[in-house]
Symmetry: C3
């Protein structure tokens, strides 16, 4: 295990774009250490965190909360609905308030792509002194989901190089897809895409190639199913849930054609009977529950990197 001096140190955890492969591996190793019941460092002073979820969420929100508890942080409740944001306060000013009050870390989910840019740019000239962990920005990035996906794949195969991985579904609107495809390619996996062609565009060709579900599935090591996000695209998708399932979904029949050790992943929440057949959610190939389990430990590793980057842990 790495010692304190060698560990990843970050001012913020905003995107996976600048992560190097050895940093990803370090995060996975640290998350696996926590998962194996490894002891959590004791900090010299209390560390206060706030979870600011401006979009609905259960698993990511509760997972960060659990990660913070397990790390021994104090979490200050924040309800965006009852906040001064309703009075027109900017996100920066709300963070300035929380920072002044003594909050050290903010975990933020926000519908605006790269919402954090204005916070960080300001950070240099202004007074904001807190770490920001991005829990999802619009259709941008979702670093913690991406890294827990990496951990789950690593847990199964022990490596990434040469793995064949398909991402199927709403590529255009999925921040999970954007984060995953970038990091998986960087780690040496071979990527494929499928699903409705209206969701596939030329911007994805640099990461992988498009194929038909029935052609791809029997060759894949990992299949990542994306949620049909009814709440995001209000315009008509042009097919019913049943039609989606028949055409692009993981049906029971398609499941039987998969490779021996192949696994299925889904960021959740699942539309049962759409992205995959309901009875496959807890099937032997499914890593759905495992992903959520791993998420807590990966988020511990991510938060710890920011704690270390900001010297919040105090002397040891």
């Amino acid at each position: 295990m790495l010692n304190m001096q060698e560990r990843l140190k970050l001012q913020h955890f905003l995107t996976i774009k600048k992560l190097k492969n050895d940093q990803v591996e370090e995060l996975i190793k640290r998350a696996e250490y926590f998962k194996a019941g490894g002891a959590v460092p004791e900090y010299a002073q209390p560390i206060y965190a706030v979870n600011m979820f401006f979009e609905n969420s259960t698993r990511t929100h509760c997972s960060f909360e659990m990660a913070e508890r397990k790390l021994g942080l104090q979490t200050i409740p924040f309800d965006p609905v009852a906040s001064s944001v309703k009075k027109g306060e900017t996100l920066y000013d709300t963070l300035l308030a929380l920072n002044s009050i003594g909050v050290n870390l903010a975990v933020i989910r926000h519908s605006q792509n790269e919402y954090y840019k204005e916070l960080i740019d300001l950070d240099e000239t202004q007074k904001l002194n807190m770490g920001i962990v991005n829990a999802g920005d619009g259709s941008g990035q979702h670093p913690s989901q991406c890294l827990l996906d990496m951990m789950t794949i690593h847990e199964q195969f022990g490596h990434f190089k040469g793995l064949k991985i398909a991402i199927i579904g709403d590529l255009t609107n999925s921040r999970v897809a954007r984060s995953d495809m970038r990091l998986l390619r960087q780690l040496g996996a071979k990527l494929y895409f499928s699903g409705p062609t209206c969701w596939y565009s030329s911007e994805f060709t640099e990461f992988g190639s498009y194929g038909k579900v029935d052609d791809l599935l029997p060759q894949m090591d990992v299949v990542i199913l994306l949620r049909v996000q009814h709440e995001r695209h209000k315009q008509e998708i042009g097919f019913s849930p049943t039609e989606y399932h028949t055409e692009y979904g993981l049906t029971r029949k398609r499941y039987t054609h998969m490779k021996k050790n192949a696994i299925i992943m889904h960021p959740g929440p699942i539309n049962r009977g759409v992205e995959l057949a309901s009875e496959l959610v807890e099937s032997s190939r499914s890593r759905f529950a495992k992903q959520m389990q791993n998420g807590v430990f990966m988020r511990m590793a991510m938060i710890e990197a920011v704690i270390n980057g900001r010297g919040l842990g105090g002397k040891q």
Copy 2:
């Protein structure tokens, strides 16, 4: 006091229907032990609970929260309004997520009768591994309110056998009434019902008989007043609050006709001036505040039964 081996052990706490009399007495004894300041067991590992209230509640929600704190549990915040349930996720899938994240116990209030049936049936063949404590299901059951009522009656009289107990009001829609009448009859009390006859039906005759308020009140040891739930039955009740009070309510005059040691109970929240005169809420016969006080300790006993039933406490 019972030792660990003899104590009640349950996988879930969903209904009072299968509780035996000695189990009820054991729960009361354990709640009284906590109320008397008895020490709480130390658990070998942290136990994580989540309170999922899909219906508005103050006293039950806060009471469970307090019970969990006093037992030393960690509670993970859950806001149904900001949850993935809004994205159409099923209750089972939300619980699967929370369970994967590390939550051991879910306290649930839900508007659907027996919402837990599908969760428990699935439990056998599928992966859900968490204890569920029912905090009220539709017009079904309200086990914790029922048991705190038993504790409050037991505190006053020391027994149930032969006590004359009237339940007055909206019998049809009250889960408290349904739970109380079943358990009180089983424990040997003699039951009477009153209130608007539109809320009385033949299904209650197996538990007790209907009488007029003025005929019943002078003979009762315990009077349980039910809330007129304006928010549940939207259709016209056919009488004003004042008319209800005059006809069926506990007026100051009726209060003076009660037996010497008789007590008044109400599950709350009270409509002052409707179910009972406002100045009687904190009168000497009223056990309203006592019920809420006892509720915390009874909920501690109930949660503990599930902790023990699932072996969550670890070795001691």
Copy 3:
């Protein structure tokens, strides 16, 4: 430092109207002690607090939460939107429930002026046994904001006597203004008012005199800018945000005319570009962040006064 016996003891903390100057100084001294990292007393038993914010708030709500955490209290979550208040329960009955459940202290923000009067009057004859800390009542008082303002001014100047202080803006609807002007006059400061004359009325003449912004600013030691509360006065104010800024706001130009050691304060949230130019929010004269920082420590001192007043800390 004062010892336990000499410290301020209050049953409730509702208004600054009855505070004597030495009590204000004592609170400031105690808050400064906490700010300097002074140890917090250990209480003989857990103390349970609930924060009931019936109006939107970020800084005051989170600040009280932080103050409670730092004092070692247990905070029980309370969501007014999901509470029984929605079923028509009175505030008194909700508090009676929380009190019965074991809550010792309630921090309340409410839109009704002097909402606490009926709770306190009842307290004498009835059963409510909990301390109430007023976190803002309608257009009435805002004791904690007022006292953190005092602390911030004291931090800068070391005294109040003879300081020239201007309060600018919506005097009519601001509970901060009402609290501040009363206490500042009592402490010996010389008060001035400015802003739209529609918000100035004869009731303020006993505290200070009205002047034009450009006449007042160069003479002031402290300038307190009030938020233009768009959410409170729905009727047309009669000027646009830009017009307000030009006419009454702290522009960059006006800033340069201020006295050498003069400071700017604002209760927040700020309308940037309205009450003051956006780039002045974190300028060297601005005590905006400092006010929020001091707020946590002042609230600790206030809550402690109620803990001591009610003997909740136990023997030491």
